[in-house]
Every structure is written in structure tokens, then in C-alpha cells.
Amino acid sequence: MRTALAETLLSQIMGWTAEEVQKERPLLQALSNFKYNEYQQYSPGMRFIESLVRWLNQIDDKAERRIAYNFIKSNLIFISSEQISHLVTLAFPQIIQPVLINKTAEQLNVSKYAIRTITNSAEFALNKRKSLFIGLSDGSKIDHFRRCNNISNEQIYLDYRISESKIKELINELKKDTGETTFNSIFLIDDFTDSGKSYFRTEDGDYKGKIYKFLNSLLQKTDDKLSSLVALQDCSILILFYVATSDAVNYIQDSVKDWLLELQIDIDIDVQTIQTLLPELKQDILKEQEFLKLCKKYYDNSIEDKHYKKGKMDSPFLGFNECSLPLILHHNTPNNSLPILWLHEDKKFVGLFPRVTRHQ
């Protein structure tokens, strides 16, 4: 659809006067060009303005459309590829390097503020090389992370399930470089979490989730090869998200802590984030009563598969686990966001940023 045609349709759907068109059009064009057009799940030929026309056209009357439009204009948070790249470049200097500095300071018995002494030391270089960086999903952009921080290819891996041959290779390369055979820091990295539940949760009394699976193999030695990667007595683990809600960070931290207590394992595991989404974000959305009525009205319960049902389900129109997020990531919309924003292409009501689900 030509953008000019889409704009004409938009003005008709919204019932805008020429003055309103003049006010809104530059804003929409700027939002589209700066960010929204880069949404990777738009079908070929579809761009933000076209999607907005389709989305608003599904809403019954002009008053409701204005509520929906104003919500998008005032509340939507779109994290672009460029912003994620920026967070990736910040990960090492802002989060990882301080961890390595603290560790080295203790080993050298110097103040952790003697930055130059520490970072110029052989011990710091060794600790950096003895760090293993594991991407928990494609979103971790672990390749980009490696390139911008001068990290060896032999200390990164994009999967928490590491094959036997890869483990062997990682250890061999570490031995070649340092003469040692175990890593002393593990960094588990991912781009985003809202609830933390896909990383660590219990279902019918059983623990589940990516982080659980990795830690269980490593710490309970259910996978001998994996546990051979580290010497537990001097190992620390950091779980790092580029973007996460404070609720999710607290949830994962508490869950892991309880689990470790249960197992009586003493190991330093921390959870950190570069960009924290504060609880106020959700509270603000819950104040948007008019828009929430629309969320409820146009909700499609056919999205409720077994994965969706693992979260809270009292108000499923608020998204997975009722997270009520107004958040879009450039490559896909998380299911914790309000479904009215991401309902799939095959649903009766299609979202403004249709989501592609991992679980087909």
C-alpha cells in the first residue's frame, strides 16, 4: 500500500480534520522512520502506517479508535535494534568488567578502586580469559558482544545446552591460552525478560526453565561434561539481561537463592540488568482504564495455549502473566505485552505489531 494512500485512509478512519492531519502526520512519519518501520515481523510490503490503518480499522467506532491511537502515541515503548546494540556495547564495561575487577582485587588484595593497577595486571587478563559467556537466545547478540569487547571466540557459546565436543574444545583452548582447565566465571546473557518465568519456575513441584536447566546440569553434576568446565569452589555466575523488569530480576534472584538453599550449595549467583523497567510502568498502564476496556473487548482467547497458561490468568487480556507491558522489541513483541498490540496475523483481530511465536 502506498504510504500516501495509507495516510488518507488513516485520516478517514480517525475522522481527522486537516489540522489534525497536519499535527499528527509529521509525528507518525518520524516515529515510523526512526523506529517502528524496522519491526521485523511485518509481512512484506507492510510498514507501520499501513499496520496502524489495519489495526485501527478493526476497532468499532471513532471514539475507541482515538483512545487506541492516543495510547500508542503516549505509552508505547519500542526498543530498536540500534538501542539493543547500544546495550550490548555497554554490557562489558558497565556490568561484566566491574565483576572481574572485584574478583581480581580480592586475589591481589588491593582496593577495588585501584582500577588501573587491576586492569593492567596479568591476573585480570587471566580472569577475563577464564570467563565463559553463554547466550541464552539469539537476542543475546553474543557475536556482537564478543566483537565489541575483544573476547576470544573460544569463550563464548550461543546455547545453554553445550555439546560434549564443544566442552572439550573450550577446555582445550583455555589450556592452550592459560595452562588451566577450568573457567572461574560464567555469564549467562539474554536480551529481555518480563516475568522471569521462562528462565526459572516450578510446575507441579518440578523446576523448569532455561536457567534452571543449565544450573542444575552444572551444579548437581547431572551432566559430568558440563560440570567439568568449572571448579565450583572459586566460580561465580552472573545472569545478565539487557532489558528486564525489576520484578523479573527479583523473581529470578529469589528463586535461584531458594533453590540453592534447598540443595545446600554455596555459590555466588547474581542477576543484573542494564536497562531496568520499573514497576511504575505497569502501574501507569493499569491506570489507562479506557484502553484496557478495548484490550478486553478485542482479546482473542485462542492465544491461550499451554505456555500462555503458565502465567497468571485472571485477566489474560493483560498479556502473559498479566504483565501489561506496552513494550515492542524490534525483532518480535514479547507475549508479556498487551495482546491487543501483538495478536497474530491469523487471528480475527490482528495486533499492531503482530507477534511470531516460538512455540508452533
Binding site: A4, E7, S11, A18, E19, V21
Partner: protein
Amino acid sequence: MRASEKIESDVNFLRLYSPEVLELIIEGNQEDLWNNVVFIRSSPGAGKTSLLRLFEPNSLNTIYNHKSQQDYRELYNTVCKLDVINETGVSALGVLIQFTKNYEILDDIKYSEVTRIRLFYSLLNARLVLATLRSICELNKLSYPNDLEQINYEYENEKLFLRNIQSPCDGRELFNWASGLEKSVYDILDSFIQPDVDKIEGHDELFTLEILQPKYFKVNGRSSFRRIIYMLDDAHKLSKSQRSSLFKYVIDQRGNFNIWISERLEGITEFKSYHERDYYEVNLEKYWGNNTSKFKKMLSKIASKRAAISTDDVDTFAENLDDSIDEQIFQKEIKESIETTRKKIQEVVRKTKKFQDWLDYLIQQSDTSLKTAILHKSAEILIHRNLRKSQMVLQFALSIPELIDKIDPSIESAARYFLSNEYGIPNYYGFQKLVVLSSNNIEQFLAFASDLFEGMLSNKIASQDVQLSTKRQEKIIALVVKKKWNDLSTILPNPKAVEGFLNKLGNYFNKITYEPTASYAPGITGFAVHSSRRLIEEKGWQENEIFEELQDTISTCLAYNLLEVKEVSQGAKNQIWTVYYLNRWLCVKYQLPFTYGGWNKLTPEELLKWTK
């Protein structure tokens, strides 16, 4: 529809460029233009940089290569008159140096004044050499710096200007020498400690202007241009000492080279007359101010060219600006104004029969057209004027011919502004007003025109008539004015003082303009500084430190194009007054007319209070 400096492609820049500004140069004496120093002066956005960009090799090559195309024909013919292009090709080499703040930084380092100027000339000589080599490559379609060996430099170094390079030489050797010199000056700027300045090749003069002449350059054995135009852009970014040293040097040495220097007018004293100086001055705003029809023609072309390349199906501009009031739409306001004004006149007639005939005449005008409303308002203004001086005048009834005779265009114009002010009947609309609103500044025109064009597009998208109504135009213009005003707080060095000063000035003008007698009809938009200190001979306000804040404020207003300067002769002795008029966009803010001519004398003491 925005600034040409931001248009990246030469083709687009030239397609959108309107050659009227070149006529300014063509109309002058060609002898003044060549082998001389030419200053191109204006406030920001008047088109200095675009004018210089036109003479860069890529632009001239593009014009020459597209000379048969309709879009370029006019531009080609115009530049041919300047003898920078002829039938065989481009004959002038434009060399552009953009002054940036890094020249001024040289003045901050802790060396003597003499050393700092030597470093400045070293850097400028190096950059002129590099820019010349780059331009030669561009003109001859060579790759810079890869193809520099194809350039031969045949200067014999008779005056021994070149100390660390053997000349004649090729372009590569000249490039290496200049790059090395440039780098050595950078090293000083980047150094934390005070480096040994004696190791650097310091220059006492800008000798490159003499040694970089067309006769010394051959490309693959042949000459490729007849003259070089050195264009130094944004000279106001130099420090005071650099600027005065450079200007003195080029003016003293004038005659052997063409040097064009563009700069923004910043100081109050710079607006004094230049005619006795030894250089040629092109003042863009002054030129447009004296050639309003040409300015209008140029703006019309600029708008049309830009609208024509729009992909949004609105390809004309001026035609889509409604230029007359739709009386049907404003019927209610017009009717109300007539009734109210008539009532007020009836009140006066109850007290004095002097205006009875006028009232009867007004009542006879039975229709409710805008013309009638203007007539009523004009009569009301005249009655107020008459009443003000009526104490000494006999109470004879005034006749209808007297009324008709007294209503001149300025009273009518004032009446229109009164109607606009009191009843919201638009006054700022139409292409002609937009031209005046631009205050002879192209960037300012584009700021308003682009939003008006956006309004036309919005009309089209909203399935309405593309043409913008007068009311809508006025509304859009008011929004742009509001934005420009809000932007002042971020762009001005001392926004509070300037905003406060302009506010007091604007409100004062508004108060006088809308006095019931409309004494300065159609209104007042300017002031001249009138010193009342007579007893002791003191320095003028421009030099007197007591008025430093006022000097700073007015200088800032001039540099940022918030005040326009005109020299006006007035009084029996034809005294010349420097009148500072509000830029026309500020007239919109204070609902003032666009006409020049209405100004008031204010004392520096009074004006100083307004800066507090």
C-alpha cells in the same frame, strides 16, 4: 522544503537553486568582482553558503554537463555571464574553506600574539593548498588524493615562500608538504604540554594566495582553468585578532587574486556604511530589501521548484495560498464589528453633532462587507484623532468628502489590523505577505513555507480542497512563530535578556499601534536610539560601557536576525538614523503590521531598563 546546505546531492541542490541571487553579483561592476576582495555578508539563512557552493567544481561541472536540460538552462545562462563557465567548459576553480571553531582555538594557546597569528597563517596556508589540490582533482574528475601525481605545480619559488619543499614539483609532493604542516599545527592543539613552536614552519602571511595561481598548475600537461576563486566561508567563526589580521592582509594585497569571504554580521558597529572601503561588499539582505520584486520572484521559484519535486501529489505552492478574505466565512465577525463601531460613533454623536454627517454616511452603507467594516473602523480612528485636538477647534460639522479624503491607505491598513486584533479576521495570509514575512531571508521563508506546504498536504490527505484558507494560513504562521520563539531559549547565548527585551519592545509597539488614534498608522515596528545627554559630551551609547548590556542585547538580536537594520533620513537636516526594526516574524507575535516606516526614538537609558 528546508535549507540547501542540507541537500547532499549536487544534482538536487542545483535543480532547486534559484539563480536570482547571482544577478546581484552580475549587476555589479565585474571589475569589482575579479582580482578583488569580495565580502558576502548577511544574517544566518540568507543564502551565503549556498551561493559559495554553486562555485565549487562539482556544481559547475554538473551545470555544464546538464546545460541542455530545461532545469539547468537558466542557471547555466546566468553563470556564463559571470565567465566561470563558457562553451568549452568550466573555466574557474572554486576553492572552498569552511572556517570552523578550530581556528579560534589557536587563539587560546599560551603563545604570544605574533606566534598565534603565525600559526594561524600556517594552518590556513596548508588548508588552502590542500583545498586547491582537491578542487583541481574534482574539476578534472581525478580521484583525490590518489591521482595527485597527474598535477604539475610549476611555481619557481622566486620569493622563497616555500622553505621545506622543492618547487616545481608534482601535486603529491605539494600535498605531503601541506599535510605535514597541517599536522604539525594539530599537534600543538592536541598537546597537553607547551610544545616547541620553533620546530613548526610558521608563516607571516597568506602567501598561498600568490603562489597558487592558475598559471602554475597543469593537469597531465595542460592548463584546465583560467582563474581561481578562493571562498572563505563563515569568517565570523575566527577570533577577533585572526579576523582583523586576515582582512587587513587580503585588502592590502588585493589585486592578484579573487577572494570571497562570507560572514555573518554580528556587531552593532558593523552596520555602518562601507562604501569608502577598499573592497566589494555584497549584502544579501540589503540587496533583497532594495529589490523586493526580485526577492518575491526568487521565493516563488524556490517554492515552486521544491513543490514540483514533492512525491505527495501537491506540486504547486503560491497558488494554494488563498489571498483574499472569504467574507462568507467571517460574516458574523464583520457584522459584529460594524454594529459595535457604529454604536461607539453614535455615542460620540450624542455628545457632539460634529460627526453627524459621517454617521449618516456610514448608516447608508447598508451591506455587511469587509469594505464597510474597514470604512467604519477608519472613521472611528479619524474621530478619535479629531477629538484629541478638538479643544481648540470650533464645533463645525465635518462633511462626508472630508471623511473620504482623510481615509488614506495607511488608515485603511490600520483599520484592517484593528479588525484583526479585535474580531479575529485574518491578516497574515497570501504569498505576498509570506514574502515580506521572510524578512529577506530564504531560510526564514522556508521555515514558514514548509509548514504551509505540510498544511496543503494535510488538506489533500483529509480529502479537502488543497488550497489553504486565510484563517488556516494565519494559524500555521502563528504556530511557526511560537516554535521559533521557543527555540530562542536554546539557540541564544543570553536568552533571558534578549527575550525580555524583545517582549518589552514588542508590547510597547503593540500598545502604540493599537492606540485609538492610530498615530503611527498602520503601526510601529522599529526604534532608533536617541541620546538625550546634552550637558556633558560623552561617548555614544555604542562605545559607552554603561550601556554594555544594551550593546550585547542588540548585537545578539542582530546576529540572530531578530532585528533588521535600516538607515533612514529624517528631519530638516536630513539626519541619518539607524533604525532597528523587528524581524517580521516577531511582528506576527505582537500582532504588528509588516510595513516599514513606523518607528520611534527611544533613549538608551530607557532601552537599557528593558534588558533587565
